[in-house]
Symmetry: C2
Subunit: 118 residues, 2 copies
């Protein structure tokens, strides 16, 4: 099916593909700066997004130690893992629910245009 | 529930909230420029979006007469009405499907933050 890009807007924070991907890279690399580099995102911006998420939730989504001998490190907290899992579940649920309508729109496109595969 | 903003990406065109709203205003005002004004969108940009949509689909979504004694006019074609209807259906279906996960994320927000109503 076509690619469905979306973000969820709460009063305190927006969650979109950038923050979700950043959380996944933090989980996988154990580092906010390494996660940012994987997305061509500056260290400063990666930290800003982490701080924005942590401030919006009752408990931080990302635990981190800044600098230090080992160069610092970061990981998802239980709440962070939960938010990430729910975000990806929203994505899947929305895509499945939207699929028949997306296919109907795709059928109206010029020259048998095939919707993008994810 | 929280506001879910999304866009559907095909190879030839992306459909998002801006194009959907523009189509609704064209339907309601009978004019591309009036539709653009309602969205604080320049005449040029409104036309560009219309031309982009019309080029991507097998039949135009918006029929228009440019200028002329009556100042021109525009309306949704049958295909345009169908695409708009399907876009709004995607929105509704996605929101319903996502609702339990959105609520679960909302419950983790600080200070009992209430998700934005649409």
């Amino acid at each position: 099916m076509a690619e469905l890009r979306f973000r969820v807007r709460f009063d305190a924070v927006q969650l979109g593909p950038g923050k979700a991907e950043l959380m996944e890279h933090i989980r996988d690399t154990g580092s906010i700066s390494a996660a940012g580099r994987r997305m061509d995102m500056s260290y400063k911006r990666a930290w800003m997004l982490v701080e924005e998420m942590n401030a919006a939730f009752a408990v931080p989504l990302i635990a981190s130690t800044r600098g230090g001998p080992g160069g610092g490190g970061a990981s998802l907290t239980e709440a962070g893992a939960e938010v990430l899992r729910r975000y990806r579940a929203i994505e899947t649920a929305a895509e499945v629910a939207a699929a028949p309508h997306v296919a109907a729109i795709a059928a109206l496109l010029a020259s048998g245009d095939i919707p993008k595969q994810k």
